[in-house]
Amino acid sequence: MNINATLFGQMITFALFVLFCMKFIWPFLTQAMRERQDTIREGLENAATAEKHLEQANQAADVELEKAKTQAAELINQARNRANQIIEEAKGQAHEEADRIIQGAQAEIDQEINRAREALRSRVSDLAVEGAEKILENSIDRNVHERMLNNLSAQL
């Protein structure tokens, strides 16, 4: 065990090594580690926030979906009502149309009846006169009986 000048040599070496480590190594390594720690912490925090956001978005989506469903149901109901209404209206219109057509036909029929009646009426006096002429076998003054005949046909 010889203590000699090596002691000083070792002390100086030791001091230089520590100084070198302090100046050129330690700060850079610890800084890199700190920065990585920060990055990881940030990443974790961001992940947590994103998860929260996702949950919120999911909830919002559920609400929206529910709303859309109710709206759709409402729309369907409205449409059904509208359809029923349209059908009812169409039915009413059809009835009216039918009535109108029936009335028109009826009026035509009445007209036809009247026309036939008129024709018949104009013919009745002639037939009657003809019949009477044949019965009496002589001519009856048409002018004398004109009024009587007119009355007759008017009664018809």
Binding site: M1, N2, I3, N4, A5, T6, L7, F8, G9, Q10, M11, T13, F14, A15, F17, V18, F20, C21, M22, F24, I25, W26, F28, L29, T30, Q31, A32, M33, R34, E35, R36, T39
Partner: protein, 277 residues
């Protein structure tokens, strides 16, 4: 085996002798060739092998770490950066646990340097005891000790360096008066016992760096000694003895580096503590 058929005594001595470069009594500087010459050189001599290995290993450590620090990324680290960061984180954890979070730019790098440097120097103990000294001998160098931490100059050099730091921080934190008061008022806070306290504190102060350095030296010296003794066995008996001892020694190598670092942190923490303890 060293030399030409040396005796056991010579063999062991050879392994425990440093390569010394120093000032001879006649005033010239040269390598020592015998133990008598080493004694004659006295204090003004240098253990060239201790200096060589400690500086080489320190440069290796700083080189690797510098390489990593230069390219340190805060993104995904590579394997080497990961390893270095593990060491840094381990040191930081220990510093935080013992020293707390007081701002101090020195204690972290100091502890890291001690941990890795001492570990590397201890690690040289696992190199087969005859390998490098024999190679050096073939290259014409008479002695070449491989493990710097088996040289008390290396371990005491570090512990005394730490001791100076302890003194510095004592003055810086407590001030001259605070430091002086601390020396005389503990452990018996009565004026009549101040002289006694002072003696106790002085003993405490001297033994701290001594035990700090000699603990590391003793452990590694003993380990090295046993490797040397095992190397004296016949070749077929060496393996079953040296392997278990080497495996066990891995523990000592790491543990002693760790202990040296922790003690450094503890001493510096004590220097920072102003309250009663």
């Amino acid at each position: 085996m060293a030399g030409d058929n040396p005796t056991t005594q010579e063999y062991i001595n050879h392994h425990l002798t440093n390569l010394v470069y120093g000032k001879r009594p006649d005033g010239t500087w040269d390598f020592a060739h015998s133990s008598q010459e080493i004694t004659d050189m006295g204090f003004w001599a240098i253990h060239v092998d201790t200096m060589f290995w400690s500086i080489s290993l320190g440069v290796l450590f700083l080189g690797i770490f510098l390489l990593v620090a230069r390219r340190a990324t805060s993104g995904v680290p590579g394997g080497l950066q990961n390893a270095c960061e593990m060491a840094v984180e381990f040191v930081e954890d220990n510093v935080t646990q013992v020293f707390g979070t007081r701002p101090n730019a020195l204690i972290g790098p100091l502890s890291l340097t001690i941990l890795i440097w001492v570990f590397l120097m201890n690690l040289m103990d696992l190199v087969p005891v005859d390998l490098i000294p024999r190679a050096a001998q073939l290259a014409g160098v008479s002695h070449f000790k491989v493990v710097p931490t088996t040289d008390p100059n290396a371990t005491l050099g570090m512990s005394i360096g730490v001791f100076f730091l302890v003194l510095y921080y004592n003055f810086k934190i407590k001030g001259a008066t605070g430091f002086a008061l601390g020396l005389v008022t503990h452990p018996i806070p009565h004026w009549s016992m101040y002289w006694f306290n002072f003696i106790l504190e002085m003993v405490d102060m001297v033994t701290k760096p001594m035990s700090h350095g000699l603990r590391l030296f003793g452990n590694l010296y003993a380990g090295e000694m046993i490797f040397i003794l095992i190397a004296l066995f016949p070749w077929y008996a060496q393996w079953p003895l040296s392997l278990p001892w080497a495996l066990f020694h891995i523990l000592i190598i790491c543990l002693q580096a760790f202990v040296f670092m922790i003690l450094t942190i503890v001493y510096l923490t004590q220097a920072h503590e102003t309250g009663e303890h």
